[in-house]
Amino acid sequence: MIQFNNVSKRYAGGLDALKNISFELAPAEMAFLTGHSGAGKSTLLKLITLIERPTRGQAIVNNQNLSRVTRRRIPYFRRDIGIVFQDYKLLHDRTAYDNVALPLVVAGVRDKDIGRRVRAALDKVGLLKKERAYPVMLSGGEQQRVGIARAVVNKPPILLADEPTGNLDQALSDEIMDLFHDFNQVGVTVLIATHDHRQVQRLGKHVLELKRGEMINDSSPGSVL
């Protein structure tokens, strides 16, 4: 589902954020991307979502060679990837409902279908009763669940998360990670960047570890301690 072959990313100024990265995630696989801050986790996610482009190497996501996805095609490409952020990136002047509806609105889904699908997504994350609430009225955990509902509302085959539990306590982190696990169980390919080793060990999934832009560990579930 996601395949990197010798991918490098060098920023202007000569900083090598990623060096010769190769890995593969099968469809419906779940994996953790770990490493210290600055190891290149965010850069890797940005390459997958085409926020940035690789300097070298080949990346294939959802059967599409990223170097062949033109500017014009990027929005349509992104509609097949759900993204969850550490800082949630919710729009504060809109209700939970409207935040979750956003990916459907931009894709031109009809109004009556939007209502049904938004409520299904909010129900899945357990926030159906808070659809009229604005983000400021919600706790951090609730905000992140709105973010997750938004990421999955158009049923993307790939779900990415960048430190989704970075701002949450342990109990909430467990809840959020279990949500990701649930989506993985129904066939979604999930890649989560985190430095929360507790979660990595608790769920025992494929681990990709980065250090200073290099892949120093690519271990399948069986080999994780």
Binding site: T49, L91, G108
Partner: protein, 304 residues
């Protein structure tokens, strides 16, 4: 297709709602655009009206035909009769050298001095009043050329040089208005561009999120383009209102002056065609300004 139109309609009314929700900011922008557009519009109307006045004046032009000095009284009378037959001529008045000298003595104050001259240096003169149908300098000129072609005529002079000069000046002024219009149009683009730029910057996060969840650039641009379009149109209509107000304030005094000159001249505002063009130009400039402003931000968000 209907879905596409429906979405545009939604964005249109959403934008309209946004503008009315921040009335002060919207009104300020619209007022600045109105004043900017009112300036060339007002000048254009001024020129059009002066043009109409001067067209009316062409009818009162007179042509002076100075005959050759050796033309005698009888020949001059014959010529004057021939000219009177020309269709485009209303009246012809013959002034003999003697009459001219008498008048000159009376008006110049050189009375005694002129008596010392050995002979009368003044030529016979015919004053031709063209008919009212000759309402352009061009037609008058043609008549003057025809009269000049007579062998007896030494010099034909149209006492309308100043009208021609006025027309010339109006041509210059008209070109000036064009140049001014272009630079003020640029100003409108910048004003709206800057307004939209601020709106875009204040919604930068929202735009980034929309892009991340798969919103196309067209989707992001749409509300801003409508904002620019609506502000430009509203500014143009306000400019028309402003110019109309100025004209109605001037109409009274101008009418009074025109009555003194027994003229039926009245100021004229923009016709519906002119209003449509003004509104269209406002809309176009607003759209262009916001398009440039949003385009810059969207360009900076493309992957590198």
């Amino acid at each position: 297709m209907t879905g596409y139109l429906l979405r545009h309609l939604q964005v249109f009314f959403y934008t309209l709602g946004q503008l009315t929700r921040a009335p002060i900011a919207s009104l300020l922008t619209i007022a600045v655009i109105a004043i900017t557009l009112a300036l060339p519009t007002g000048l254009y109307l001024l020129i059009e009206n002066v043009q109409r006045i001067s067209t009316g004046l062409d009818g009162s032009a007179k042509i002076s035909l100075f005959l050759k000095a050796d033309i005698d009284h009888a020949t001059a009378e014959q010529l004057s009769e021939r000219i009177r037959q020309i269709l485009e001529v209303a009246t012809v008045e013959y002034i003999s050298p003697k009459q001219a000298m008498a008048e000159f003595k009376r008006l110049s104050g050189f009375g005694e001095t002129l008596d010392t001259l050995a002979h009368n240096p003044l030529p016979p003169l015919l004053i031709v009043q063209p008919s009212r149908t000759l309402d352009t300098p061009q037609k008058l000129d043609d008549l003057v050329k025809r009269l000049r072609a007579n062998g007896e005529v030494d010099l034909a002079q149209l006492d309308l040089q100043w009208v021609k000069r006025l027309h010339g000046l109006l041509q210059i002024a008209r070109r000036g208005v064009w140049l001014l219009s272009v630079s003020l149009a640029l100003a409108v683009v910048l004003i709206i561009g800057n307004t939209i730029r601020l709106a875009v910057l204040s919604r930068r996060e929202e735009i980034e999120v929309i892009k991340l969840v798969g919103g196309t650039n067209a989707f992001i641009r749409r509300p801003f383009l409508y904002t620019g379009l609506l502000q430009g149109t509203a500014g143009a209509l306000a400019a028309w209102a402003l110019v109309s107000l100025c004209l109605s304030l001037l109409a009274g005094p101008i009418g009074a002056v025109a009555d003194l000159y027994a003229s039926s001249f009245r100021t004229e505002g923009l016709d519906s065609y002119g209003i449509a063009i003004l509104a269209g130009v406002g809309a176009l400039l607003g759209w262009l300004g916001s398009r440039i402003a949003v385009g810059r931000l969207l360009g900076s968000l493309e992957p590198r």
